[in-house]
Each structure stands twice: as C-alpha cells, then as structure tokens.
Amino acid sequence: MSGVTLALDLLLGLSLVWLAWRTLASPTLFGAIVLFIAFGLLMALVWARLDAPDIALAEAAVGAGLTGVLLLAALADLQQGDNLLPVREPLRGWLLQLILALCALGLFTLLTLALLGLPSPPPSLAGQVLPRLDGAGASHPVTAVLLDFRAWDTLLEIAVLLLAVVAAWSLGSHPHPNPRIVGSEVLQGLVRVLLPFAVLSAGYLVWRGGFAPGGAFQAGTVLAAAGILLLLSGLGRPFNGRHWLWRALLASGLFIFTGVALGTLLLGGGALDYPAGLGYGLILAIELGLTLTIGLTFIALYAGEQDAAEERE
C-alpha cells in the first residue's frame, strides 16, 4: 500500500466522522440537510474504495439525489405557516447526558470488540456463491444473490416498499409540494436534456446488472429522481393516485415477481427456482418490474395523494 493510498483512506475516514458530527450538530435544519447530502457523496467514495461498486451506485442515486430532495420537500412543508410540530424539550441533567454518552461509547466498544474477536479468516459465503454462478441467471454475484439465491428476500422487500405507500396513503392526503415559478424556463430546458439521459441510464443499469455492478435498485432510484425532477420543474403534473393504471404500474414489480414464483412452482421446481436456460430472461423481466415499482414508490411517497375534493375541481 502506497503512502498516497494510505493518506486517501485516512482522509476519507476522518472526514466522514467529522462530517457526521457537523451534520448532527448543525444549528439549522437546512444546514443539516445540505451536510447530509455531502455525507452521501463521501459515502459513495468510501464504497468505491471498499470494492463495492453496486453500493456506490445506489448511494450516488440515493444520497446525492433522492434523500436530499425528500428532506428538503418535507422541510419546505414544515416551514409553511407556523411550525407547530410538537418537539419535546431537549435532554437536561448531567446524569442523563452521562448515561447517553456511555451508551454511545458502549456501542462503539461492542462493535470493535466483535470485530477484533472474529476468527481468521472471517466467515464468508463467497465460497458458496461464486462456484454456483455458472448455473445462476446472472453472472454478477450480487445480482445472483439478490434475484436467484435469495430471491425470496427481495420479493418480500418489494412488498415492504408497497406497504410504505399504502400506509402513507391511508394517513390521508398531504399537499403536493407546489413548485415556485422562479427560473422555470431555464429549469425546464435542463429537465428536457437530463430526463432522456436519466431514463436511458436506468435502462442501462438494469441491463448491466446481469453481468456487472448495477441492477434494479439503482435503476429504480434513478427513475424516481427523474420523476421528481419532472414534478419540480413544473413540466409534469401531479397525477391521480387513484387511477387504476397508476396503481397497476406501481405494483407491477410485485405482480411479475409473484407470477414468476407461482409459475416456477407449477412447473414442478421450487418457487423462484428458475428452469435451466430461462434464468437470465426471467431475472431481466423481474428487474424491469422492480425498477418500475421502486421508482414509482418513491415518487408516490414524495408527491403524496391528491385530495378527492381537488380531483373533482
């Protein structure tokens, strides 16, 4: 390891901890959100350093785009009128502070001890995954784990995402964040340039996922970011959440996934046990559905649902 690499590692690690501290200690909420966005960027660089390009891709889409915009939209909403969000009194008393500091220190110590107590070499499933890649529907190990070996987990994850939308809808409507008109012409010009590239990149990431870092998660987040950009620029109109087509598209990932599971079950194999030769096609179909579901889920959580009264207007 050269000195430059060592300096890079030290700088990345230390600045990550410093940034987390500044984010959490920021005097204003807005400052905390902007610092958190910067935190996402540094995290993406760390994932790159740790040979985890899949996660770096997801972090780039989530940290740089999605989380920041969701937080800013919520902040804009909270700052409307008087902020009447019930906020409890901050912690008082040195004893409580001490206990809290000890808890945090305890967590750090426990994690460190657990790390140092690991057997050498540490337990790893790489030895079980890598030899089976030939028979799997995807040659990229992470995709193979997500959509072949542990496809059940991913199926349930998509169900959880849909559940979040259903739960959000069941709370009644929250107002759609109304964009201001400032600078809309320039912005709309930009969106007209970026949007095709964003959709193209999403497709590219799904296709890459079969054999290289990429896949439905990253593609779905890019799609969601593109959709939110469309809404923010005023080019896209808030949609009617009750429309059947919108709901069908939202659930398409789960439908396709469940359909494949039932199909493979009927064919005599186990559920999601892809027949030889069909694995690649089936995984691609599932991933396209997942991309749609993930993208639309985040757009739905951002945009909220329109009031029934507003719809009639």
């Binding site: 750090f108 790489a126 890598l130």
Partner: protein, 95 residues
Amino acid sequence: MNMALWFTLVGAALAAIALHAFFSRRHPLRRLIALNIMGSGIFLVLIGLARLYPGTLPDPVPHAMVLTGIVVAVSATAFGLVLLRRLARLGRGET
C-alpha cells in the same frame, strides 16, 4: 493497519455518534437524519467485514444485504417524512 478494518472502525464510530444524536436531539427531522447516519455506519461495518482479508474475494452476500438495506432505509425515511408532515398539519388544526 488493514484498510477494511479502518473503515469498519469508522463505521462503528458513525453508528455511535448517530446513536448519541438520535437520543439527545429532539427535532424529528434531525432524528431521521441521525437514523440514516446510524444505518450508514452499520452498512460500513458489514461491507468492511466482507473484504477484511485482502487475499479473498469480497463476499457478495453482505453487498446484497446492504443494497436491500439502503432501499428499505430510504423508503422508511420517506414514510417517516410523510408522518411528520401529517403531524405538522394536525398541529396547525388542518385535517
């Protein structure tokens, strides 16, 4: 020092700082951010573990887990923000 071990320690530190902030800060938006940073710290520990020994290939299973974790964390954050906005509207006496 081993590079992956260094980053797992960074992850543990992040989780500890965020845990502290989660309980000492009271604004819900700050708590959501703290929760997200805590998650990042834990993910960092997992991925650091996956390539702790440079000779072996990185273990793809934690990578898949963290990928799932990131997506679930964002959707949980988004849902938390929906709850917050609802709470604020109730506070203003709107329905």
